[in-house]
Amino acid sequence: MNNVLLIARRELAAYLRTMLGYIIVAVMLFILGVLFNAWAMSGTAKKSAEIIADFFTLASGCTLVTSAVLGMPLLAREREKGTIQLLFSAPVRDWEIILGKYLSALVFLMVYLGCSFYMPLLVMAYGKVSPGHLAAGYLGLLLVGSVGAAFGTFASALTKNQLVAVIISLVLVIALTVFWFVARITDRPLTDAVTAMAWYAHFTPFGAGLVHLKHVCYFALVSFVALFAATRVLEARRWT
């Protein structure tokens, strides 16, 4: 576990010392701010809880994209620069490399989530919002971010081109989102199966301030599968 933390700490420092992470977070915060102002805060009078639910809907999409893009350089840059050989020749397991990289992206994502907190704070200042609702919503965002970071890590393991890595991770994000739309045009029992795979269906309760274990398990399982696949890809790299 020491190796996981060591790799995560180094990668997190790389996010903090280079501009890329800040740029991604700044752009996504700007987009979220514009959407929040244009959609959640506009229109007819709404209850504070409704505005917060709208905020979490918008933030979940932005968080998924942000985390997937943050995963872009994790392994692709290592392969591009040749530094992956340092990790490959060190007494470190492949899963430790993957987990360390993924954790760094997740921790850096918290910077983004922390910076987004001013929006619900504004609602709190002028309305009535339950702290439990906010806690459940941000837990949901973190879980959504976990899936995005795992997708980003997996995509980054597949190629040494960072642009290709970000395209692959966004394709995965879109694929997981499409299930939700597909569920709307299918009949039962297919609807239930497709809905079970759609991330947004599992996030909605968090946005409404509810935490269900089955939804937590869904995000944990999808993250695990993506990280497991990334580990296998990294193992395969030693043979090619």
């Binding site: 060591l6 180094r10 790389a14 040749g82 050989q85 007494p91």
Partner: protein, 312 residues
């Protein structure tokens, strides 16, 4: 220390190395020589547990690279052909990270980093960002990261690559300092750069080991047991060539330079025939200005061995 039997590595349909076999004893300094694309880096990557072999058996300190790569990684320091450096880190921060990654105890890390910075001449650069370093210093940091955990086996893939002549000498001196403390495997395609450092050479060509031994042994293989004798003479060139050819055990005579009556000959012989050559020249009334026994330049040896393999 290292035992390699039938090592083969395929990239798709192409074999990068084929059926390699060699042994390296503890404390030896081995030069791994070959042209670009000969298979040196692939072999070193397998030994460094970066790449898994397609077939064959490789053991380092008794551990198999496929079955126990983790144990081997604890014992090796590996410098790839491009130093694996994180540009955004400082030299000290980077070495500290690598030391911890390679298993140095946290309370020993600072002392190890300090010691290795002193050894590699990086003490003044402890706080410098790696991005600001020159190519020569980046290469030093690369060597330092391979050494920071004091490994038994040091694998250096082209450590002199891209360095200027002064930096090459500095790198050579640095590696000389490491002799005796580690088993060292060092690769290069510029033979003269490492000939002064190594105990033994392995020559790889088209993915196969075509020769191995000391420089003298290889010179013997390439030019006869007596090596090559160079003669600087003054007089009739034809008389000198005829006289040299008449000396017993001489296998070949080649005129390498003719300037007025000054003649330079290269004589290959099965034994050291310098006294007989001088007597023959005196008898032929050719003045002898200089007699020099050389084993031939390493580049010549390498070219002869690889050409011989190509012809076969």
């Amino acid at each position: 220390m290292i035992s390699v039997e039938g090592l083969t590595k395929y990239y798709g349909e192409n074999a990068a190395i084929k059926d390699l076999a060699f042994k390296i004893s503890k404390g030896e300094v081995i030069g791994f020589l070959g042209l670009n694309g000969a298979g040196k880096s692939t072999t070193l990557k397998v030994l460094g547990c970066v790449l898994a072999p397609t077939s064959g058996r490789v053991t380092v300190d008794g551990y198999d690279v496929v079955e126990n790569p983790h144990e081997i990684r604890k014992r090796i320091g590996y410098l790839p052909d491009t130093p694996p450096l994180y540009d955004e880190m400082t030299v000290g921060g980077y070495l500290d990270f690598v030391a911890r990654l390679r298993g140095v105890a946290p309370h020993d890390t600072a002392a190890r980093v300090k010691a290795i910075e002193e050894k590699t001449g990086l003490s003044a650069w402890h706080e410098a960002p790696i991005a600001s370093l020159s190519h020569g210093y980046r290469q030093r940091v690369g060597v330092a990261q391979a050494l920071v955990h004091n490994p038994q086996l040091l694998i250096l893939d082209e450590p002199t690559g891209g360095l200027d002549p002064v930096q090459i000498v500095e790198m050579r001196e640095l590696i000389k300092k490491l002799k005796g403390e580690h088993t060292i495997l060092i690769s290069s395609h510029i033979l003269s750069e490492i000939s002064q450092i190594v105990d033994r050479l392995l020559i790889i060509h088209n993915g196969e080991i075509v020769a191995q031994g000391t420089e003298e042994q290889l010179a013997g293989e390439a030019g006869g047991a007596g090596g090559v004798i160079e003669l600087q003479l003054a007089g009739n060139a034809q008389k000198a060539i005829d006289a040299a050819k008449a000396v017993p055990q001489v296998s070949a005579v080649e005129m390498t330079k003719l300037d007025g009556d000054r003649v330079q000959l290269q004589v290959k012989a099965a034994a050291d025939v310098r006294p007989a050559l001088v007597r023959a020249m005196v008898a032929a009334q050719v003045d002898v200005l200089e007699v020099k026994k050389s084993h031939g330049r390493l580049e010549d040896i390498f070219l002869k061995i690889t050409q011989k393999e190509g012809a076969a």
